[in-house]
């Protein structure tokens, strides 16, 4: 089965800073890739997904992620974060089942 690593446990940024959250996975077969977000007090919501085609995918609220197959990575990016992006972000990989990383807590200071 696949495994998912999110190396950043807690990231603190000021508003307007650029964001990149790392996600690496291990799996030898075809994968589908996801980023979910959990805002304080809310449930998990889909931010973006990759199934096939263009490896650069755009999601809601200005987020994007790039699938680099050779690096087994699917990093999440946003050019300029806002205070409202404060949340926990989970990378998920679907191979022969769907597994999540441990999550990265993002705190954006106003």
């Amino acid at each position: 089965a696949q495994s998912v690593s999110q190396h950043n446990h807690h990231v603190i940024l000021s508003e307007a800073a650029s964001l990149e959250l790392g996600c690496n996975y291990s799996y030898g077969g075809t994968v589908n890739l996801f980023w979910y977000v959990q805002y304080p007090g809310q449930h998990l919501q889909l931010l973006l997904k990759y199934f096939s085609g263009d490896p650069l995918v755009k999601g809601i609220k200005g987020f994007e992620a790039e699938f680099i197959k050779s690096k087994f990575s699917f990093n999440l990016r946003k050019p300029s974060v806002q205070w409202s992006d404060t949340a926990e972000y989970f990378c998920a990989v679907r191979g022969n089942d769907m597994r999540f990383g441990a999550g990265t807590r993002l705190t954006v200071k106003p």
Binding site: H43, L44, F90, A92, R94, D97, M98, F100, G101
Partner: protein, 117 residues
């Protein structure tokens, strides 16, 4: 319904007791998934149903955990002889189609927080 509904939102029980957690998926979604999220961790897969049958129960940690979906809609996760280590948020998700391939997107509920004293 409009979203995935889970009840109760919070459950506090004593060690050794039996607990049931309920999930009502999005109307028309054939697949239903249970995950468990412990503090500081990501969701951990438990079981998924395609219709009434458990298509993959490889994530259930032991035989104290059981889930049913008798009519292919609402599901109940049952935990017998609860232990303190069972304390977690139990998440339910549903998708239009089932399986671990294809264009399936899981939509999650708010979860049921279980605390075992």
């Amino acid at each position: 319904g409009a979203g995935v509904s889970q009840t109760p939102s919070n459950k506090v029980t004593e060690k050794g007791k039996y607990v049931e957690l309920r999930c009502d998926p999005i109307s028309g979604h054939t697949a239903l998934y249970w995950y468990r999220q412990s503090l500081g961790q990501g969701p951990e897969f438990l079981i998924y149903f395609q219709g009434t049958g458990a298509a993959d129960d490889s994530g259930l940690p032991n035989d104290r955990f059981f889930a049913v979906r008798p009519e292919g809609s609402v599901s109940t996760l049952k935990i017998q002889r609860t232990e303190r280590g069972d304390s977690a948020v139990y998440l339910c998700a549903s998708s239009l189609q089932g399986g671990w391939s294809g264009a399936n997107v899981l939509t999650f509920g708010a979860g049921s927080r279980l605390t075992v004293l």
